[in-house]
Subunit: 368 residues, 4 copies
């Protein structure tokens, strides 16, 4: 349904980069769940740009205002509408190059789809700005999951070719504590090298991409709604809503295609009286349903399309080829910010799947 | 909605491996569209097992019976229900090992989800058998798309490490003619090496995986329904419904994560009076919307979990570790058969997206 | 979604009057629920025609075949596909008058919608025949509800002007035992007068209509999903899917429009330690949510459009006015049969609403 | 999906009576459609209370603010989020009687569903206040339909027993011009008697109800998506989302139940070269699909539950019976205001059905 997704819990996203506000409607939450301002602020802060040369110079306060569904820090059980005002907009930056299609961006496809009526200011609906609303809504879901011992954590597995420490199988069983930095890393010592790589690209007017890895722990076995609403289907659907995501793989993913079955299969074993698997090549999902091991997947984030190098393009209005020199304020790398978005939307998806099985009331009262 | 997917066009899948029949309900098609028996039979035949050592020895006639929605070889406009009888079932094969969880399979997760009430015969709802229904329904969609000049083609990009010829950028612009063989390849001369690799694994009681690549040509720019129902979201959702798919990437995909923006962006150009891109790194999709270039994506297919080597596992009923020696009839490689499923379901997804934009009547009358 | 409805539980209906079979896919049921053949057969039998002058002379065995989702008389947790073969079809009856639009029927609207490609035999998708599939699916839901002490009962409140006994407020609190007859009445002594009225109309080649009243008991307070998925919205949506239903009203319904608030409001009281209402003018629903009183509503069933009197109509093909004398086998009154359909689909709707709140697993394990 | 409804076009409603704002997200509109401020203001004005003794003394400016999806008075093609601030709130009015359940209201059911966490101020989510958002969104749809020659008009067919002039069959064929008054009547001379009846009830601390009649003209034949998404199902689903609606009937409705088929059927005839019906007993719908005649239906609006007379009720917290004397500002009659809501939401539903058949682009470019 276009800007709405979810079954038992649903999320509607709206807004444009330079409109009055962006926002979300989160529906299907039980009444009486905590909506903790500090928690949300901390998540928003992690997604927010820094103006430090690593992210865009457009700094927004990103204050979340609740219009409905929340009273005294708790859900009321009705739809939660939240908005985040757009304050620091400089639409003039875009005026000079408005007819020149930015390569890698949605300029042309928006023209084609909306026939010229789209809001072009700042990328409109296709701006990464819109993801702030997803983070606000998703962080509420994260908090609900945490109350049931379910944790979602996303780290930058690779950025501009620099690798984070791997999720060892041991690490795969416990959720790393989210640190407070802008770069979510298992090994914070890698941050310097990553920043270095970003600054190097930025210095050349260029941008870099990376790979995110998300892990969900604490999920019981038996969650997921195949045939069509498998865990992978639901989480992939959501991941590809995030601008710049171009790939997703679960567990061993694409590497599994080159394995033999005897290596790729996860042998079952008994661990502390429970059924477990010795390895987690399948990323915690078999047949679209959780098997009680951590759900693990990676998403590919392409380099920011907005670069300052001269690019070949087309003048849409005059239908002729042209050179483009992009103005405006852009991130040389959005991977760190995308990590927060990926995490938030995953939390939403996981809560939706759990609610289908256990019911709305479970969110408040349930054991899993 | 669990076993139903789609917005303007919807597909419901049902059935178990050893039940009376598997089937599908395809809804949302305009009236008067051709439902060509020969076309469907040819697609079903490509998915069908051969009993040639490359696929399972369970051979099914796979005759598609229409219960509703089709009269005189044309759609009536109402829901199309189709069934495919299960005839060659040997449930006894599974009896001896019924309590031993097969690694890589959905045995354990089905136990967890269905609490022991699931149909365990032949893998039940999680058998690849169920995909026959998807192929039957999807091939109807393929035929509708063909009437509008839209082609969907899936080849085996890699199997057991053996690569097919690459989709050159030139090849990316025209849809290769689907050949009639069981192995869908751009370069049929690679088939021998692939078969060799499959037989080698099979000889050791093992299995192999691979990578599929799908290309959709003829799509106009402007198709896709972001924020949530982007082209990638819809096609990924569907792809992960296919058993054994563990990853999907669009265009350059994961490789894009290691590129700089200046390399990853697709420069726009004018080609034959139309806006096009010089490269297709984004796989024909920007901002979740088609840009008029071919839509290209790859899916990772894991090696068949059913292998004949001894595996470590758990006896679910007695909750103790055990060794498993699988009986039954299984494919040492399902990649070639999965290619047909991937293709069929992609056609369904593309038709759904087109119908949202252009309407149901467009399927019959429309220009794109 | 056209032929699919429901949120947590979904129902897909397919089939045409003279096609191979009609059927349904019921999805979203927990595993391990009883699917009792005797129960279903009894419900099917109540819907079935008698050939007794009160209903159509087309007698069908209405044997329900399960293709998936049921093993050993219990749900497996996957989609339940069921079919009912069409055996007693005499399409020739319709040939002579195929171009003449039957007043009150869907002939013309089907032409308009399906542009002449619809299955016209026996009314096609618009035949009351299709409701047999709804009864089969709904009776499974009825049985699940019964396991939780929730009963759905529909009686013929009025037929051809003959009234059944009223649901007194006392009767409103306990569910009348469904009797075994074809006519579901609170006062079986009224059946003779009703039959008399039907036969009188039939003797003149005419038909009669009536009003059904449905009561649902045992529902806890707090069920319903406003704003849009109120109890009334969900049940009304379903009721209008039944051919011939032209109105629905909850509680006092239209009569409430002429009352003052002081009369229409239901005063709250304590009854056996529980909050209750002294009257039930609101039909057990306030603000779209159950209040713990029985849910009560009435549906208007129009007289069968197929009558044997000469009617004025239009020849669709030749676009000229014409006289129509209907052939074929038709019920002079479908009210008694519609009662079973109304009851079955209500059970489905109620189960869907309960499952949203309490979860899928609740169906098997839950307390309400 | 709870607070979201629709297929090709979807509407999400949020807000509470005394929260920061109420609002809506309208999604699925084509780009470039007019969003005329004057048109919306006029519709909002008709719904607004007057403080004239006929409606509540709470007067709100009801200014609609667009957060997204609208630029320069036209749709951009993305989700339209709109909010209406709550300014004139006096929550203190409710404090004294907060534990006393108001008969006919959703107080008790909200307690049961939301377990005490609901926003109780001013009726919260169950206040008629929320309907202002539906009017704002629906009036955009009305304007789109008007561009295609499709008109939706709702009049007060009966109020406190005083009848408006009937929709003659002649009037049924052309849409009456909406007048500018607060009371939408075919015969404005009836307003005085209606107002008199309202004031008489108000003088006694009581309230009155009524019946609305809606007519949609200009619809082509062939619109509607049975089995489940018939025209009646979609419009009834929406109508019962409106607080206080307790019944709906199409065409002759409940009166049809007492007719014989020979009277109830609408004979077909040729009129100005087109197929039409001589009468419109079926309200423009056969088999759930439009037949080209005006779609006509009536909804029952119950008397306002908030009355000033002393009522018997229960103290929810102390679980004992009590007497209630309601404070606060309430309408003695909401029928006139509900007419605008009914009209707006009908326009939304009709646009959704049309878009499924003709496509999103049709909204902008299409012929019907």
């Amino acid at each position: 349904m276009k800007n709405t997704f979810g079954n038992a819990v649903s999320l509607t996203i709206f807004g444009e980069s330079h409109g009055a506000a962006i926002g979300a409607v989160l529906d299907g939450l039980a009444a009486g769940l905590p909506v903790e301002s500090d928690y949300i602020v901390a998540r928003m802060e992690r997604r927010r740009a820094r103006g430090d040369g690593l992210s865009t110079a457009r700094i927004e306060p990103d204050k979340v205002e609740f219009l409905s569904g929340v009273v005294n820090g708790h859900t009321t059980g009705t739809a939660i509408a939240l908005t985040i005002a757009n304050t620091n907009t400089r639409s003039g930056d875009y005026a000079k190059t408005a007819d020149l299609l930015r390569p890698g961006h949605a300029d042309y496809t928006a023209y084609a789809k909306y026939e010229g009526w789209q809001d072009v200011r700042g990328g409109g609906h296709f701006s990464g700005r819109v993801t702030a609303a997803a983070v606000a809504a998703g962080s509420i879901c994260e908090r609900v999951l945490a109350g049931h011992g379910i944790r979602v954590y996303t780290h930058i597995a690779r950025l501009a070719g620099v690798e984070d420490a791997p999720l060892s199988s041991a690490a795969g069983l416990v959720c790393p504590e989210p640190e407070n930095g802008h770069f979510a890393l298992l090994d914070p010592s890698r941050e310097a090298a990553m920043q270095q790589a970003v600054r190097a690209a930025a210095a050349e007017g260029d941008s870099v991409g990376g790979v995110l890895e998300t892990i969900v722990t604490g999920l019981p076995a038996g969650v997921g709604e195949p045939w069509f609403d498998s865990v992978e289907s639901e989480l992939a659907h959501i991941a590809f809503a995030i601008p710049a995501v171009k790939g997703i793989e679960f567990g061993m993913g694409f590497a599994m295609a080159d394995q033999r079955g005897s290596c790729a299969n996860d042998a079952f074993c008994m661990r502390e009286g429970k059924i477990a698997t010795a390895t987690n090549h399948n990323g915690g999902v078999n047949g679209g349903i959780t098997n009680g091991m951590p759900v693990v997947f990676r998403t590919a984030v392409k380099p920011t399309p907005s670069i300052y190098k001269t690019q070949q393009t087309v003048d849409y209005v005059n239908r002729r080829e042209a050179e483009l020199n992009i103005q405006g304020r852009h991130d040389p790398c959005i991977v760190a910010r995308a990590a927060v978005v990926q995490n938030s939307l995953t939390a939403f998806g996981v809560l939706d799947l759990l609610t289908q099985r256990y019911g709305t009331l479970w969110q408040k009262h349930g054991e899993v």
